[in-house]
Symmetry: C2
């Protein structure tokens, strides 16, 4: 390992320190500035620490100096291909006892015991392991090395070489049931000494905080906004690692199910000329001099793909809603899971797909993502979702009748509000034992213009919503494939048909009857895990207030 100080870091340290001195001499320091300064100071400290530890003379009297230290920058600039193999922390088990391993992880906890002993807990994605340093000439571990380890800032990236051992008592603080007896330890990248949020604080459940409060101890509660401001740290909590792995699994299962049913995955444009579904909730922009907007859904395009002969299509992609909705369940940008398919006779063919798809997703999560679900449960406890093997279908009229009998009057040709949906969810759960059901045959007036009216009563429509735990997650319907009727309905709904003429004309070239649905990926994960806020299931959420990070 080269002992040269990294030139950039040293220069940065010098310059930052200079800036800081200049800033501090100023009489008018704002709070923001103070924060900035603190950060600069931290950076300077970090850089100088790095520089210091790389001074060869510091280790001149330590015969084991080569066994620890900060890895010089050039080494992490792709200098070497050593052929060494790193073992995954998650793969360390009792069977590995006695083996020498090399692992890389973040220093989640650093516990000095004495001058001669320290613990470092390393984390790699959802797994943690305890690394033990005991000064001993046999092991090549000096007291300087123990000091180096305890000088590491939390969350620094660290390489550890050591021997896997079985602890005398079972470990509680780590996910792995083995320890590493450290032989070598190198810091790959140092975190600033004081992080804006503590991972320990961010990982705590509400119950733990309350329990501590009852015992008179005040623990830090990290608010949702603070989490999002420092998302790169917040995402490291076990619950977040699990949430986004679950999200990935939902999408995988969605795709897998559709592919098994002969659907073709497509990608439709997000930059479009008209507004895809009408209404004001649309982001507008200039497209090379033409007015354009961001698609509120792939609706029109997935239908045109059906007209284009693809029979069954699905799409996973962002959808954009410029709504000023500051609720626990709305985002301005989310991931839409969309499907559209020819129907031979009846839009229940679409409902059957939804039934099969979601039961498959729920089963897959419960059976194959146990570790992730348990991890989420530790921080955010929830009851497993109740669902039936064959999904319950109720008409909208049956739904409002149930609400009426329970004392809630709904305007029969209107829509359900959030409260009524919640209540209906409770009533259905009591009566049918399921938290996942389809409500169909909605009044036409509350559905988008492209929804097919019912054959027997044009005040109703061949449409449905699907609910999880009393919240709507899916909207779907048979679509109008008759250009004259489509133009008529668009006009009735206040949409200038000329702005969507190429869409409407697509249906005059021979169009099969078809239907489909759309669902928000974040909502599926939020409601399956009974999380209380959709911002928890969006990697970098966008709401009316938030555009950063």
């Amino acid at each position: 390992m080269s002992s040269e100080p990294p030139p950039d870091a040293a220069a940065a340290a010098a310059s930052s320190a200079g800036d800081l001195a200049a800033d501090l001499s100023s009489a008018t320091i704002s709070k923001k500035q103070l924060k900035k300064d603190a950060r600069k100071a931290e950076k300077a400290e970090k850089a100088s620490q790095r520089q210091q530890q790389q001074q060869p003379q510091a280790d001149a009297d330590d015969p084991f100096a080569a066994n620890y230290g900060d890895v010089p920058v050039e080494e992490i600039q792709s200098k070497t291909i050593s052929g060494r193999v790193w073992t995954e922390v998650g793969g360390l088990d009792e069977a590995a006892a006695g083996r020498s391993v090399l692992i890389r992880g973040a220093a989640q906890a650093i516990r000095p015991v004495s001058k001669k002993m320290a613990f470092v807990v390393l984390r790699e994605s959802m797994s943690t392991v305890q690394c033990v340093l005991v000064a001993s000439a046999d092991a090549g571990v000096s007291t300087q090395m123990v000091r180096f380890a305890t000088s590491l800032s939390k969350e620094s990236i660290v390489d550890v070489e050591g021997v896997v051992s079985l602890p005398k008592e079972p470990l509680k603080a780590t996910t792995q049931q083995v320890e590493i007896q450290v032989r070598k330890i190198y810091c790959i990248n140092r975190a600033i000494p004081t992080l804006p949020i503590n991972l320990e604080d961010a990982s705590r459940s509400e119950a733990e905080i309350e329990k501590a409060e009852q015992a008179g101890e005040k623990l830090v509660r990290v608010g949702q906004d603070t989490r999002l401001n420092y998302r790169a740290i917040d995402l490291r909590t076990p619950a977040n690692q699990a949430i986004f792995r679950i999200q990935c699994q939902v999408e995988n299962k969605f795709r897998e199910y559709f592919l098994s049913k002969n659907f073709v995955g497509i990608h439709s444009p997000k930059l479009i000329a008209g507004s895809s579904e009408g209404g004001a909730a649309v982001f507008k922009l200039q497209y090379n001099g033409q007015p354009a907007c961001l698609a509120q859904s792939p609706q029109l395009y997935k239908q045109m793909a059906i007209c284009g002969g693809f029979e069954r299509v699905f799409e996973v992609g962002p959808v954009f809603r410029a709504e000023n909705s500051n609720t626990h369940r709305h985002l301005c940008e989310f991931v839409g899971l969309d499907a559209e398919m020819e129907i031979k006779e009846h839009y229940f063919e679409v409902c059957d797909i939804i039934d099969g798809l979601f039961v498959a997703i729920f089963k897959h999560l419960n059976e194959n993502c146990k570790k992730e679900l348990e991890t989420i449960n530790r921080q955010y406890p929830f009851e497993p979702l109740k669902y039936l093997e064959k999904t319950l279908k109720l008409t909208y009229e049956e739904g409002i009748q149930m609400l009426k009998e329970a004392g809630t009057e709904i305007e029969p040709m209107g829509d359900l509000n959030t409260e009524a949906e919640k209540k209906l969810g409770r009533l259905v759960k009591e009566k049918y034992g399921t938290e996942f059901f389809i409500l169909y045959r909605y009044p036409l007036a509350v559905r988008p213009f492209y929804t097919m009216p019912c054959y027997d009563n044009p005040a109703y429509s061949n449409s449905f919503d699907v609910f999880i735990r009393g919240e709507e997650i899916i909207s779907g319907a048979q679509r109008i494939h008759l250009p004259e009727l489509l133009t008529k309905r668009a006009t009735e709904c206040g949409i200038d048909a000329s702005t969507i003429s190429s869409y409407i004309e697509s249906f005059s070239y021979g169009a099969p009857p078809h239907g489909g649905f759309g669902v928000g990926l974040e909502r599926v994960v939020m409601l399956f895990c009974a999380l209380n806020n959709i911002r928890k299931t969006s990697l970098f959420p966008r709401d009316p207030q938030r555009l950063v990070p």
Copy 2:
């Protein structure tokens, strides 16, 4: 089946006809208006045909009147669940001979032979089958039924019930080697009688057109722009059906490979505050009063996900480039396949992933998508891609040396232009027998600000491009994970670091060395199939001129 005329269609017919008369009385009719009128006339004709054929008296003297006709609108509004099963056209083979089947498809060709006989070729996605009507009391087929079949407009959606039979001579005009002896035929949805483009014309290869020209016959050549204007028809050509199935398979294999290597699929926001990679090629918009733009790549966010502890991530999603590039290979919106991963020592770890991934994709397409590739080949002939089991890697310097030796001088610290890339592709193919290779160690000056410089010479970078058939499809690199260096490089590249402060700060919380790459899905398909225009591999392409459909 009800014999009532569909009220909407009848009303539309009446009203359209009236409008048309009024229009024709006008003295100033523009070309556009004429087109419009033609469309209206077609619609009127269509509706009146429909109405006429549904008049019960028209069939009063036909004992087999129930065996054919236009299906009334109410029937296709989800009136019935009959339990009938439709057989897929693609599944009809010799083994089905003698079986009664029900199929649905588009009437691709209609050939009257006599008053008593006609052929209708039905198409379902990539498959076609010939349906034979022969008037016979035994079969329940009347001459009126034959007339009904021949009255159908091309591309109308049709249900046929019939018996599978083996033709006396092998069929050339259809993909299936069996025929259907028609017993019943119903029209589900009529296309307008004259389509803006003919599927036959749109499906022809350039070679066929030229051969006909040599024989003195002038065949219609459908231009790329016309195709895109009527994309809902153009997409029905066998080649297009195959292209987008190949595209779906590339994405599937991409995902499958990454999942097998422990990558997590993520979705990053497309609405962002800064511009993701600098430069002017960015779409700007207002986000609830704040200036925002559309992400030019998921670059900054996939790196933040790495800082967030996900180790290895991939994303499939739209990327937006407001470039005024009117070339065969640029789009303003395309589907980005992106990956980012921790690297232990060297960015060649990223190159190894690319090697494994693309060799897996190429193999999968060649082995499992034979039908699709043959179908594309019929309209757009191409040579299979030459690639090596272990992907060739050359340094940028080696590349420009090869060019120099072949007489092309390249500014050593500059970038390759399209022409030089093409030439290098040819040279590499000659020398190494591959059309897929990696060129690495590019000059730092021609790479984005977040690219890690080389440890031994900061004028070069730990970066690479990947080429297929002499065109660049992938850009990748090790990234800078040191906040000080990142700020310095951003500033040097003219980017205001304060606009990306949350990105830069992410690296101060303990950041692992990492690298990644991005590739355009449309380009992979275009170049694998040696297509001449990226608009052929985008479902609804967006270029500087095109925002519709």
